[in-house]
């Protein structure tokens, strides 16, 4: 796969109970791009992400990952190139120890044992928690859990990273570490989040969802200045773009390019 | 309700281990063959659910005591008998290891008592017949109530059987039964009510869950015939091993006498006649040995026995020797037993201290 493109064409999804999930979603995300997926609760962010990893099948429309359409036949090979970090790390860390958990993906890829160990150490080092290798997930702090959850995905060396609310439930320091970490990744990233400040720092592009529809798709810094759009989508300006509470001056935010 | 290691004999424990292991193997194969890999995390998390749910108590009206969710029945209703059995077995294993509920040898008994009956008897034969196809409020309630009570009654009966067959506890079969069954009628009612209430809640909130479970669970995955065969085999094995144990360890009372009286006195006079008379003696006063506390009656019995057997003077002599040695236990031996016991215990503890001391100094 030369181009890690993620493309949605005319995507529709209706839940079994008849609720509209996604309505005519179209986008094309290019190799190496970082895209924030924002919108109010229930706007369809998670539903869209589940489509991108083939967990939900669209009622209508197509998804292409790289050069292949996402369907049952090549689901397996597509999942090798797409890694998803779930919102609740407890759902993602299901094995008895951190090692087993990070090794789960590589083992399923059928790698030799020596390579598996190498991948596990490398992934844990990347997220900065190699010392946790023997611990069991239930004994990790929230931040540590998140790091390990990211490592479990990195160990399968995906080209595309999909994340659902990666900064939720993190203390400020852990959140900061996460942002630094994500900035170093060269993968194509799609991040669903309510943390608009993080989106501003990491993602050059933002897609705004509302009621299952894309209401805006463009440069993050531009969209976040559109107060009307944000208000309509149940969002508000990132704090870094709001006035300082002490001197009421606006400071230039850190923007991702 | 949990059987404990301290109350069972290796024969019973071992047999029940074998039976439960066989059932686990059977269910594992079944689950594997179904190839629904979604079930793997589902089962595990449901086990954890039972674990957590059992720790939430509610107050039983009128009595004021507290009750909680059982497990086997609701798991069967939601997941079908095979998965439910595996899940129950895993819950009991964790309980045995961490909370020492029951113990390791009794684990086989506990898995069988609390897993097999609700999952493979009460659920398919009672609940499924009543509420499987047509889950209305009334059907769910009657089905769950009757099935839970029946499952627990069978489980309680199995506990009694296992305890009595093991022979460690002195509780007579009837007393124990009369003690256990009514208690488990109450426990079963509580389990039935809670199960029905929770199932009813699920049925209203997410009916598709119940429908999926009802349709995917194969009815009669285990046929009655194979169940009966299994039980028959288990009985045979238990009977066989029990009788073997029984013959090598004679009647508890007699055996204890051997130990406490010291073996050497008996050894000198041990012969075929003597052992025959032992057998005879045992049968002669077994019915009322519970009331025998002094030697006078025994000697009487002994006389009768020796007269009956006639025998040579030597054997009579030997028997008399034995008989007199029995009620008036050689206290010298018991004292040395006491001293030796204390000493061994001290030694064991001392070794522990030395080991730890050595370690902390390394």
């Amino acid at each position: 796969m030369s181009h890690h493109i993620v493309q949605a064409d005319n995507l529709h999804y209706t839940y079994p109970d008849g609720t509209l999930g996604l309505d005519n979603i179209n986008f094309k995300i290019h190799h190496g791009e970082s895209v924030a997926l924002v919108g109010s609760n229930g706007a369809g962010k998670s539903t869209l992400l589940l489509h991108l990893i083939g967990c939900l099948t669209p009622t209508r429309g197509d998804i292409r990952i790289g050069d292949y359409p996402l369907n049952k036949k090549n689901l397996k090979s597509i999942r090798r190139s797409v890694g998803m970090v779930f919102q609740d790390p407890d759902d993602q860390l299901f094995m008895p120890t951190v090692f087993d958990d990070v090794a789960f993906g590589p083992i399923n890829l059928g790698l030799p044992e020596a390579e598996i160990e190498k991948r596990v150490t490398a992934a844990l080092e990347t997220v900065g928690v190699p010392h946790l290798i023997k611990r069991s997930p239930q004994k990790l702090s929230g931040g540590e859990k998140r790091s390990v959850a990211i490592a479990t995905v990195l160990a399968t060396t995906p080209d595309i990273l999909i994340m659902d609310e990666p900064s939720s439930n993190l203390d400020p320091a852990s959140r900061r570490r996460l942002i630094h970490l994500l900035k170093t990744f060269t993968h194509t990233k799609i991040i669903a989040t309510h943390d608009l400040d993080m989106a501003l720092e990491i993602c050059g592009r933002t897609i705004v969802l509302n009621n299952g529809k894309i209401v805006a798709d463009g440069q993050t810094i531009q969209l976040f200045q559109d107060v009307k759009l944000l208000e309509m989508s149940g969002l508000e300006k990132p704090l870094t773009m709001q006035g300082c509470p002490v001197c009421s001056k606006e400071h230039p935010p850190v923007i991702a390019r | 309700m949990h059987m404990a290691d301290a109350l069972i004999s290796p024969a019973v424990g071992g047999t029940m281990w074998a039976v439960s292991a066989g059932l686990i193997g059977h269910c594992s194969k079944k689950v594997k063959n179904e190839m629904d890999d979604q079930k793997i995390p589902l089962m595990g998390v449901m086990g954890a659910f039972i674990f957590a749910a059992q720790m939430i108590n509610f107050t039983i009206p009128v009595t004021g005591s507290s009750g909680h969710l059982g497990g086997g029945m609701i798991l069967s209703i939601l997941l079908g008998p095979h998965i439910a059995f595996l899940t129950m077995a895993s819950v009991l294993t964790v309980q045995a290891l961490f909370f020492a509920d029951g113990g390791l040898l009794a684990l086989g008994c506990n898995i069988f008592n609390l897993g097999f009956f609700p999952c493979f008897i009460a659920y398919p034969l009672i609940y499924k017949r009543i509420a499987g196809k047509n889950p209305t409020r009334k059907n769910i309630l009657t089905g769950a109530l009757i099935a839970a009570i029946a499952g627990l009654q069978m489980g309680a009966f199995a506990v009694v059987m296992e305890t009595v067959l093991s022979g460690v506890s002195e509780l007579p079969f009837r007393t124990f039964l009369l003690l256990m069954q009514p208690i488990h009628l109450a426990i079963g009612t509580v389990e039935g009510l809670t199960t029905a209430a929770v199932v009813f809640f699920i049925w209203r909130a997410r009916p598709e869950i119940l429908n999926a479970a009802a349709s995917s669970a194969p009815i009669g995955g285990i046929s009655i015939r194979s169940v009966l065969t299994g039980i028959a085999v288990a009985t045979l094995i238990t009977g066989g091993t029990l009788s073997w144990f029984a013959s090598s360890n004679p009647d508890g009372l007699e055996w204890a006498m051997f130990k406490t009286a010291g073996v050497e006195e008996l050894e000198t006079s041990h012969n075929l006649h003597l052992s025959l008379s032992e057998v005879q003696k045992k049968t002669a006063f077994l019915p009322d040995y519970g009331f025998q506390s002094d030697g006078s009656e025994l000697l009487l019995n002994e006389k009768e026995n020796s007269e009956e057997y006639g025998g040579t003077a030597a054997t009579t002599e030997a028997k008399k020797h034995e008989a007199s040695s029995w009620p008036s236990i050689d206290s010298g031996t018991s004292v040395s037993g006491l001293i030796g016991g204390l000493l061994t215990l001290t030694l064991a503890v001392a070794i522990g201290f030395i080991l730890r001391y050595k370690k902390s100094n390394v």
Binding site: R79, L93, F94, M95, P96, F104, I107, N108, R135, S136 | D5, A6, P10, G13, I24, C27, K32, Q38, I40, L42, V45, G47, A48, A52, M55, I56, T59, L78, L86, T87, S90, L97, F99, G103, L105, V168, E170, L171, T175, T194, A197, V198, F201, G252, G290, D294, S331, G332, V335, S336, G337, L338, I339, G340, G341, L343, L345, I351, L355, K359
Partner: protein, 299 residues
């Protein structure tokens, strides 16, 4: 509520103990599981009136607790908490079985104490007046078997606790898998253990939320209990689905494979065989009686 949290902390604590770094902790789990099973088997196979024979068996838990640096008080406390069950069933033995099968002649003990020069102690006994009152103590079979039950209980429960505290649950599972326990059951055990923590936490949050809004004494009634458990159940089912998704995303194909280095070396073989012979000897020869006899003879 307190119950929920306490149980969680308890398991947590045992888990922490199991991550110790002693030689025993590092021993292959198979050796420890097998030894524990042999231990429980031999202990339980002792006759029902056996007390003295059980005493040497205490060496095993004591030695392991010492070698593995386990907190003695914690283990004892845990066993005591579990005692009532065995006690209630065992206590029927003295009631049902009243035949005297052991007579302890106290004068014999006094004579013996005199002979080894414990005169001071004798004086004390004289002062209490014990010597005059009690000549012999009659012990019924029921009491003996009762104490035997309690001893077995302590030994077998202790062995299970020690196994978990030195080995850890997941290693026990791996050992069981190597012993041929079917893999779906192993996966089941591991999932249960992993999510037990998550769900107990979730359950206790629900219970707490309810308790904070019930201002009376807070008895939970069945009509509240059912929706609560039902909610927990629905959340659990959703979670199972999410976990399955997470597994699929990382290439889950219906089988859980694990890479775990386990090797049976010389120390494992020596450990298992050594204890095996020790248990067999404890079971075959009544060491305390032999020792006591030997001592009374030489004194």
């Amino acid at each position: 509520m307190a119950n929920l949290q306490n149980n969680l902390f308890d398991i947590f604590y045992m888990d922490t103990l199991a991550s110790g770094e002693t030689w025993l902790h590092r021993l292959d789990p198979r050796a420890k599981v097998l030894t524990t099973l042999i231990f429980v088997g031999t202990v339980v196979s002792c006759g029902k009136y056996e007390i003295s024979m059980l005493i040497p068996f205490t060496l095993y838990p004591v030695a392991i607790v010492a070698l593995a640096n386990l907190p003695v008080l914690y283990i004892i406390k845990k066993m005591t908490l579990l005692m009532p069950f065995a006690f209630f069933i065992g206590i029927f033995n003295p009631i049902m079985d009243r035949a005297v099968i052991l007579k302890i002649d106290l004068t014999d003990i006094f004579v013996w104490m005199d002979s080894i020069g414990l005169n001071n102690l004798m004086g004390l006994i004289d002062i209490i007046g014990l010597k005059g009152i009690v000549g012999t103590i009659d012990v019924s079979g029921g009491w003996i078997s009762f104490f035997s039950i309690m001893m077995r209980f302590c030994l077998t429960v202790g062995a299970a606790l020690i196994l978990i505290c030195t080995t850890g649950f997941d290693s026990v599972c791996m050992a069981l898998q190597k012993f041929g326990v079917p893999s779906p059951f192993i996966a089941q055990l591991m999932f249960l253990y992993r999510y037990m923590f998550v769900l107990i936490d979730e359950a206790s949050r629900m219970v707490r939320a309810r308790a904070l809004r019930t201002f009376d004494t807070g008895h939970m009634k069945l009509d509240l209990f059912a929706p609560m458990i039902g909610q927990l159940l629905l959340r659990t089912l959703d979670r199972a689905q999410r976990i399955h998704l997470a597994m699929c995303c990382r290439g889950f194909d219906g089988h859980i494979h694990m890479v775990r280095k386990m090797d049976l070396g010389m120390s494992e073989i020596l450990f298992t065989i050594g204890w095996f012979f020790a248990f067999v000897i404890f079971r075959m020869y009544n060491i305390p009686i032999g020792l006591g006899k030997f001592l009374s003879e030489i004194l």
